[in-house]
Assembly symmetry: C2
DNA sequence: TATTTACTTGACTAAACTAGTCGGGTTTAC
DNA sequence: GTAAACCCGACTAGTTTAGTCAAGTAAATA
């Protein structure tokens, strides 16, 4: 199992999309500014999110990305999976052939943990995150900061 | 967060120690044979486990390692921690300064997940694993296999 | 006391992965 | 037709994993 910046960025970017949905298509440049994620890296991530039909794109000026489903129907587990981060903690990818074709000593322990993690992150949807007080607060802060130009001061670098 | 072979090996080796405790000190060569873990790699892991006082060593012929506490008092979380694998899923190591000194949009989500994982693995001790039926079965298989020389057939290589 | 077993330490390494960058496209609104 | 935005592939520095290898030290036993 690996849960790194890649998966966290993907979830953060998708949540940004959900929070700002009413503004129409959201450009990656906006997400990059608000969430402080490299634009080029976002492009990589959104390529995968689009392949998995979690977002759809609108090209041309004024274009951007939007969620391709209701935020109620998109779970954190799905997003992490879409960018190829596995929530499986076992070595054998849950196949149980970890030692000479049979189960290793700790196989069931890792299976149990994987199930827990997956169940937890499947139970959390973008809609449920949007409703959290602290998420709304951070979102308000981010929107005002980026409007005022407090972030990304130097343009490039 | 990272949960890889390193942490799994450490837990497996510690469980092997718990299962074979009545035989006296267990050599790394025995663990290597039964669990199919490279001897040199085990040495690295046990160096850390010893530094964290999870095992104690007996040098010389007939020596080996044993648990330095009751198996009831050693949790899976402690073992993973001892070999420097973090169960923390946040980017800021739970400090909440992920975005310009303030919380990022998804900080609490990752905190919640970290707490769940930690609570789960803290609740599982070596003693509780030893009592599991499937663990005892695998252990019996491993002991008979290694006695019969079914594993590690070619000696070296 | 010599030998052997086993722990101890540190340096080294190939391969994989992360978190990007860079440069060139294509599409479409205005 | 030009600029805003998506799209795509190649490249890369740095880190980590999962080891190997060599040279020890400590202690039991013959």
């Amino acid at each position: 199992m690996r849960l790194t910046t890649k998966g966290r960025y993907a979830v953060t970017a998708m949540l940004d999309l959900a929070l700002n949905a009413e503004k129409g298509p959201i450009s990656l440049a906006d997400i990059s500014r608000r969430q402080e994620i490299s634009l080029s890296y976002l492009e990589q991530l959104f390529s995968k999110l689009r392949q998995q039909s979690l977002v759809s794109s609108v090209r041309g000026p004024g274009g951007g990305y939007k969620l391709s489903r209701e935020p109620e129907a998109i779970s954190v587990a799905q997003i992490i999976d879409a960018v190829n981060e596995s929530l499986d903690v076992t070595n054998c990818e849950s196949q149980g052939n970890c030692q000479q074709g049979q189960q290793c000593l700790t196989h069931n322990l890792w299976m149990d943990l994987s199930d827990r993690i997956h169940a937890f992150l499947s139970s959390i949807t973008l809609a449920s995150l949007v409703q959290r007080d602290e998420v709304r607060e951070v979102s308000v802060r981010q929107n005002s900061s980026s409007e005022l130009g407090l972030l990304d001061v130097s343009g490039v670098q």
